[in-house]
C-alpha cells in the first residue's frame, strides 16, 4: 500500500503536467512558464509572420512562454504530423503545440479525436468575445465545442486595381462576363489551397438561388445536382482566366505581385484589410481597392487548436488566450500590421480598450464593416472537400 502511494505521488505530477485544467487559470499560467510552444501556422505571408513574432515577444514577456513559429506551406502538413505521431504512439510530447487551423482540417482532427480540449470557453478572454454577433462557435457549420479558439474574422473580398479596372462587380455572373471581356486578367489560387477552395465555395453560394442546402453535409444524392451549375460556370470561366487556366497562383498573397506587375486586374482575398496592408508594404499599387458582391460574401473566423498530444498545452492555452486579448486584437486589426477583423465584442470592452480600436485607420483599400455587408455562411466542410477533389480532377490534371 505504501508503495502504491509512493508511485501515485511520483506519477501524479506528470499526469497533471500532461493535462492542464483550463478552468484553473492560475495553474495554467504557472505551468506555462518556461514552456516552448511550437505554433504551426502558414508561413507564406510575411506580415502574418511578423505578427506571430510579436505575439511571441509578448507572451515571453508576460508569461515566460517561448513561442516558436513553425512555418508551413500547407496546414494539412500539421494535421499529418499529428496523425503520424498518433500512429507512432507519440501521445505525450508531439512536435506541435498549436495550429492555425481551417474548418476542414478542424473537422478532420475533431473527428479523429486529435484535439486537446474543450478549453476555449474557459479562457479568461472568452468573456470579451462577441459570441452572438460573430460565428465563433461553429467552424464551417461544425460545432466548435471549445476545441479551438477564435482569433480573427475573415471575409471574402475582391481586390481590383482601379487603374486598369475601375468597375466593381455585383455577382459571380458579372465576374464571368467581365472575364470574358478581359481575358487573362483574373485568377484564383489553385485548390486545394484554402483561398482557392474558398473561391469555389463563394462561386457556388452566389450562383445557387437557395444556398441553404449547403448547410447540411453533402450526400451522394444531392452533390451532383447542387454542384452542376458550379462546373458549368467554371467551364465557361476557365479559358478566360490568367494563363487560360493552365497555371494558377499558389496562394492568395502570390497574386499581389501579379497585380503589381499588371498581369492581373482582379483577384480575391479572405482578409478585408490585406490589400491596404500590402499597399503599405509596396506589394500593391495604391490604386488597389476592394469590393464585395451584392448578395454578400462568405465569412468565417480563424481559429487556433491544440493537438491532443501537445506537451505544452498550458503554454498553448496562454498563447490562445493572449490572441483574444484586446491588445493583440487591436494590433491585428491595424492595417499597417495585419488588417484582420476582430473577434471581440466592442461593448464588452472598457473605454480604454475600445479607444485603441476606434483610433485605427482602416486603410484606403479596406471596406468599413457597413460596406462589407451581410456575411454568407460557410458551407459544411463535406462540400469543400468534394468540390476541391473534383476541381483537381477536372482542372488540376491537365485533362
Amino acid at each position: 500500500m505504501k508503495h502504491l502511494t509512493l508511485i501515485a505521488a511520483l506519477v501524479a505530477p506528470t499526469f497533471a503536467l500532461a493535462n492542464p485544467d483550463p478552468s484553473d487559470w492560475d495553474a495554467v499560467t504557472t505551468q506555462a512558464s518556461g514552456q516552448t510552444v511550437y505554433w504551426n501556422a502558414w508561413g507564406g505571408s510575411t506580415t502574418t509572420n511578423d505578427f506571430l513574432a510579436w505575439v511571441g515577444d509578448r507572451v515571453l514577456e508576460d508569461y515566460g512562454v517561448v513561442l516558436e513559429h513553425v512555418k508551413l506551406t500547407d496546414t494539412a502538413d500539421a494535421v499529418t504530423r499529428v496523425l503520424s505521431e498518433k500512429q507512432a504512439g507519440e501521445d505525450d510530447d508531439g512536435a506541435i503545440d498549436l495550429i492555425w487551423i481551417n474548418g476542414s482540417n478542424f473537422a478532420a482532427m475533431k473527428d479523429a479525436d486529435l484535439l486537446f480540449g474543450p478549453y476555449a470557453e474557459q479562457l479568461p478572454n472568452w468573456a470579451v468575445v462577441d459570441v452572438d454577433g460573430k460565428t465563433v462557435q461553429t467552424d464551417f457549420t461544425v460545432p466548435v465545442e471549445g476545441y479551438e479558439s477564435p482569433w480573427a474574422m475573415a471575409q471574402v473580398v475582391f481586390v481590383h486595381n482601379t487603374a486598369t479596372m475601375p468597375e466593381t462587380l455585383g455577382s459571380m455572373d458579372a465576374l464571368l462576363e467581365w472575364a470574358q471581356a478581359n481575358p487573362g486578367r483574373f485568377s484564383y489560387p489553385q485548390p486545394p489551397d484554402f483561398l482557392g477552395t474558398t473561391f469555389l465555395k463563394q462561386a457556388l453560394v452566389d450562383i445557387l438561388d437557395d444556398p441553404s442546402v449547403l448547410q447540411s453535409p453533402a450526400t451522394d444524392e444531392n452533390y451532383d445536382v447542387v454542384t452542376g451549375p458550379l462546373w458549368a460556370y467554371l467551364d465557361a470561366l476557365t479559358p478566360h482566366l490568367w494563363r487560360m487556366g493552365r497555371a494558377y497562383p499558389a496562394t492568395g498573397t502570390a497574386m499581389f505581385p501579379l497585380i503589381a506587375d499588371g498581369e492581373l486586374d482582379l483577384s480575391i482575398s479572405f482578409s478585408p484589410g490585406a490589400a491596404s496592408t500590402a499597399i503599405s508594404n509596396f506589394e500593391l499599387p495604391d490604386t488597389v481597392r476592394t469590393f464585395v458582391l451584392d448578395k454578400g460574401t462568405i465569412g468565417n473566423a480563424s481559429f487556433v487548436a491544440i493537438p491532443y498530444n501537445s506537451g505544452s498545452a498550458a503554454g498553448a492555452m496562454v498563447v490562445a488566450n493572449f490572441l483574444m486579448s484586446p491588445e493583440a486584437q487591436a494590433r491585428a486589426q491595424d492595417p499597417n500590421i495585419l488588417g484582420y477583423g476582430t473577434v471581440l465584442d466592442m461593448d464588452a470592452l472598457s473605454a480604454d480598450e475600445r479607444a485603441a480600436f476606434d483610433a485605427l485607420e482602416l486603410g484606403i483599400a479596406t471596406l468599413s464593416p457597413a460596406e462589407l455587408g451581410s456575411v454568407q455562411a460557410e458551407p459544411h466542410p463535406s462540400w469543400a472537400t468534394r468540390i476541391a477533389d473534383d476541381w483537381a480532377e477536372r482542372y488540376g490534371t491537365g485533362q
Binding site: 500547407d74 494535421v79 504512439g89 486598369t164 493552365r246 497555371a247 497574386m255 499588371g262 491537365g398
Partner: protein, 558 residues
Amino acid sequence: MLRFLPALTLLAMLGPVIAGLWGTALPAFGHLPAAGLTGPSLDPFRGLFGWAGLGAAVRLSVMTGLIATSVSLAIVVFITAGWSGTRSFRMLERMLSPLLSVPHAAAAFGLAFLIAPSGWVARLLSPALTGWDRPPDLLIVQDPLGLAMIAGLVVKEVPFLLLMTIAAMGQAQPRRSLLVAQSLGYGRLTGWLKTVFPRVYTQIRLPVYVVIAYSMSIVDVAVILGPSTPPTLSVQIVKWMSDPDLSMRLTGAAAALLQLALVIGALGFWWCGERIVARLGDRWIMSGRRGQFDAPIRIFSLGLGSISAVAILFGLAGLAVWSFAAFWSFPNVLPDSFTLRTWDRHGPDAIATLGETFFVAGIAVLLALVLVLGCLEAEHRSGRGLTRRGLWLLYLPLLVPQTAFLPGLQTLLLNLGADVGRLPVIFAHLVFVLPYVFLSLGDPWRSWDVRYTTVAGALGARPRTVFWRVRVPMLLRPILTATAVGIAVSVGQYLATLLIGGGRVSTLTTEAVALASGGDRRAIGVYGLMQTLAALVPFTLALIIPTILWRNRRGLHD
C-alpha cells in the same frame, strides 16, 4: 578503431536509405497499422493508377530529368571539346565553379524572375522593343512541358558536370591524344570527341547518373518553376504525404515506389543509349571524317555555357534588387526607389536561421570529415583502394530518389520514438554530405606523394604522427574545399530538412521555399541571397585560409 570506420561510413550512408525504402514499401502495400490498415493489399496502387494526373506527372518527371541531363551533358561536352586548354575555357571554369555552390532553390527563384512575362528580360525590352506596357499573358514559368524547370536544372547541372569533367580529364591525359589527332588533320572539337571523350565519359558516368536521378525527383525547383496542373510526380508525392486523409499516404508511398522504378527505368534507358551512342561513335571514329561543323558548334556551346552562367548571376542580382526594392512595377527596369525595410523586417530572422543552418551543416560536415578521412587513411594503411563496387556504393544514396526513401524514413523515425529535431536532420543530411565529401577529397588524398610517409617514417614518425603532422597539413586545401562542398550540400537540402525535421528545424532553404508559396519577392530575395551566401562563404574561406597559412610555404601552393 580505424578498421571500423569504413563499415560505419557505409552504415551512415546506406542505413537511412535502406530503412527509408522499407518504411516506404510497407504502406505502399497497404500496411499502416496505426490507421487500422494491415496489408498486404494492392489498393494503394489502385488509388495511384486511378489518379487522373498520373500520366502527365510521370511523363513530366521522366522528360524533365532526361532532357535536362542530355542538354547539360551536351553543353559541357561540346564546351570542353571545343575550348579546353584555352583562355576562354579557364574564364568560364572560373565563372562556373562558384555557381556550383549556389543552392538550387535560389537559382530557381532568380531564373523565375528573369524569364517570367513580367521578368527582368521582358522589362529590359519593354515597351520599346516589344510594345508591351503590361506583361503578356504567356505561360513561361510553370509551363505544362516543364521547359522552365528544365532550364532551371540545366543552369545548375552545367557547372556540376563541367567540374566533374575537368577533374576526369586529369587522368585522361587529353593533351597528347589531341596533339596526335590534330596532327592527323582533325579539328580540335572532332579530335577531342573521337579520342578523349570515350575515356572521360567512363569517369563522369556516375555523376551523369546522379544528375538523372536528381533531376527526376527534385522537389524545390519543381515547386518554383514546374507546372502545377498536375505537378511532377515527386511534388505530388510530397502533397500526398501531407494530406490529412491517411489513405492518401498509402497512395503517396505507392507513388514513391513508382518514382524509384521510374528512376531505375530511366537509368536503364540511358545505359542502353550509351551503348547505341558507343556503337554509332565507333562507326563515326572509324569513318575517319575530320568534321565540318567544329566552328559553329564551338561558338554555340560556349554561348550556351555563358548564358547558363549569366542567367544565375543575373538571377541572383535580381534577388538582390528585389530585397532592397520599394514599389516596383512592370515595365520599369528598376524599382521606384530603394529601401532597407525588407532587410529590417527579415534580416534578423534570416540571420538566426543562418545560425541554425550552419549548426546543422557544421556537425554533419564534421562527422563526414571524420568518417571520410578515417576511411581514406584506412585505405592507405591497408593498401586496398576503392573498388568499382565501392564507388557504386558511394554513389548509391545519390542515385535513389529522395522522394522514395525520405517519407518512409520519417515514418520509421516516429515509430522508433526518436525525437524530432536537429539530430535526425543532421543524420539525414549526412547521407548526402558523405558521398560528396568523399568524392571531393578522394582524388587529392590518393594523389598525395606517399614517399613523404617513407621519409617521415625514416625520421621515426609513427603512422598517426605522419597523418596529423604531415598529411593533413599538406592536404589542408582539399580538406577545406571538401568542407565547403559538404556545407553547400547541407545548406541546399530541402526535403531532408522538411520531412525529417517535422517542421521544427528550419534552415534558409526550407524558409525560402515556404516563402515561395506566398510570392513576396522581397522576402524571397532576402532568404535567397542569404542561402547563396551561406554556401559561397565557406568556398571563399577555403581559398583564403591556405593562402594565409601557407604564405611563407611556396611549395604548398598549387
